[in-house]
């Protein structure tokens, strides 16, 4: 059952250059994703592919010069700015990247308690700290006294006590050691197993594969493929899009062989398929128009040549 649907989302930023000259940078174009109850969707892509902007668009926290089009639906009804304000932090929770998102002047126990919407906040906070093996002394600490791993667990606790139905986790793992990563990932799996929908934003395919049910691959502001995790095996024969294949092959445990070039800048996107300039399979047809997202073998792909 889908809880959150994003259809044809586009985001552009208005910028001024040379005084009053106005330009629009399109950073996300015709993007589609769906979050389902009990499932984890991993959103994978290079930095600058629009992963975090998608999260911010869902929560309605984009800066004021952003122009959003397309439809975001939550529980079947359109997610308007008014609903976004009402739901964020309650039914839709964000697990942000770093300790910088904690209030530096507030004891972390109190911060977690403000997220409790029903019942006794103090006991809920103590219970969740105990689960995440945060000692009793931690609730009275300030963020600067926490290690990176403890801060991460505090942020997770905040999402956990909020009774959220949708959790969006933005790059929760880089730079942590494997033990802490495993713990964080297991927590997301548990959220999902309790009936929540989880969106895990990451550039790291490996950690995504450990816990996700489906992987959505982003390239230059759009989804190029949505695939079940089972497809990521062997030499990547089951993978649909050439960019996803390239990512899979570039992993150090696979071939460690990169494709040349880099993602196009939003100000100079190619007219046809966004991946066409770097694609081995590209033909004249690819340059004509951006390909539509289509269904293929229990997944989705935005490529006319994919089989």
């Amino acid at each position: 059952m889908s809880i959150l649907e994003v259809e044809n989302l586009s985001v552009s930023f208005k910028q001024y250059t040379d005084g009053f000259k106005e330009i629009n940078h399109k950073v996300i174009s015709s993007l589609n994703v769906t979050l389902e109850a009990g499932k984890i969707l991993a959103v994978v892509g290079a930095s600058g592919s629009g992963k975090s902007l998608l999260a911010h668009a869902i929560l309605g926290i984009l800066p004021s010069n952003a122009n959003v089009s397309g439809i975001i639906k939550y529980e079947g009804k359109e997610l308007t700015p008014i609903r976004q304000t009402a739901l964020r932090g309650k039914e839709i929770a964000l697990v942000p990247q770093s300790v910088n998102f904690l209030d530096p002047l507030m004891r972390v126990g109190n911060q977690v308690r403000t997220s409790v919407k029903n019942g006794d906040a103090v006991s809920a906070q103590r219970k969740v700290f105990e689960r995440y093996r945060l000692g009793k002394e931690v609730e009275d600490m300030y963020p600067f006294q926490l290690s990176g791993g403890m801060a991460r667990r505090t942020l997770l606790s905040t999402a956990m006590v909020s009774d959220a139905k949708v959790i969006i986790a933005d790059e929760p793992t880089p730079g942590l050691d494997p033990v802490v990563i495993k713990e964080a990932l297991d927590n997301f799996r548990e959220f999902a197993d309790n009936g929540c929908a989880v969106m895990l934003i990451t550039h790291d395919i490996e950690s995504a594969l450990q816990i996700a049910d489906k992987i959505a691959v982003f390239y230059a502001g759009t989804t190029v493929e949505i695939a079940p995790v089972e497809d990521f095996v062997g030499n990547g024969e089951a993978i649909r899009h050439p960019y996803t294949k390239a990512l899979w092959r570039a992993l150090p445990q696979n071939e460690f062989r990169p494709i040349p070039g880099s993602q196009p800048h939003p100000s100079s996107l190619p007219p046809g398929c966004l991946f066409e300039p770097r694609c081995e399979m590209a033909t004249a047809e690819c340059r004509q128009a951006p390909p539509k997202m289509r269904e293929l073998r229990d997944g989705m792909v935005r490529c006319i040549h994919a089989t």
Partner: protein, 199 residues
């Protein structure tokens, strides 16, 4: 041109010893990995080897003599977050040419496009910025490169691109590399030997 850490120990202020009695010898052209949980002092050790920090005990020797205090430092370091390692108020060409003028060949090898040189740092992605940080660290007099989680924030393709370029240059120049990463697969792929910083 050996890089040698002899019995080094370090602590911040009067705090507990972060580590003591660390010995490490790196030969030219050698690629050595350092692994271990966060907070054990891996980055601090790197900073000592690169001359950003002086050890409390022991010494670091380069080519049999103490590390130089002036001139171009033979040990260069690349950090995890490129956006924190560059001047946000400089354009990319100024950042790139601060230490020396990298040649066209190096820029091509690292996939740095000419068009990026006239841009501001905030207009480029993390992967694009990190290519500049690597180019900047690979001056002609760099003998050892320390890569402290150099590609942790990057996607798999960019990671492979940057490492292929760095390894090729290291081979050509007989440059030694220290690789700090939590990713065991990357470690296995790159390093000749691995030091566990857990002890």
């Amino acid at each position: 041109m050996q890089l040698e850490a002899k019995d080094i120990g370090f602590r911040y202020g009067d705090g507990p010893w972060l580590f003591q009695g660390v010995n490490l010898t790196l030969e030219p052209g050698e690629i050595v990995g350092i692994t271990g949980p966060s907070g054990r002092g891996k980055t601090t050790l790197c900073r000592i080897l690169a001359g950003f920090e002086a050890p409390i005990e022991g010494a670091v020797h380069f080519n049999g003599a103490p590390l130089p205090n002036n001139g171009y430092h033979p040990v260069q370091m690349v950090l995890q977050h490129p956006e924190k390692a560059i001047n946000p108020r400089w354009k990319m060409h100024k950042i790139l040419n601060e230490g020396y003028q990298p040649d066209k060949e190096l820029l091509d090898l690292l996939g740095i496009e000419r068009e990026w040189l006239t841009r501001w740092p905030h207009e480029l992605s993390g992967g694009e910025l990190q290519r500049f940080c690597v180019a900047r660290a690979l001056g002609p007099n760099t003998r050892y490169l320390i890569a402290d989680e150099m590609t942790t924030m990057l996607d798999a393709n960019t990671q492979a691109q940057i490492w292929h370029a760095v390894i090729e240059i290291a081979k050509k120049r007989e440059m030694g590399i220290i690789v700090v990463t939590h990713e065991s697969n990357l470690m296995r792929r790159l390093c000749h030997r691995v030091i566990d910083f857990n002890k």
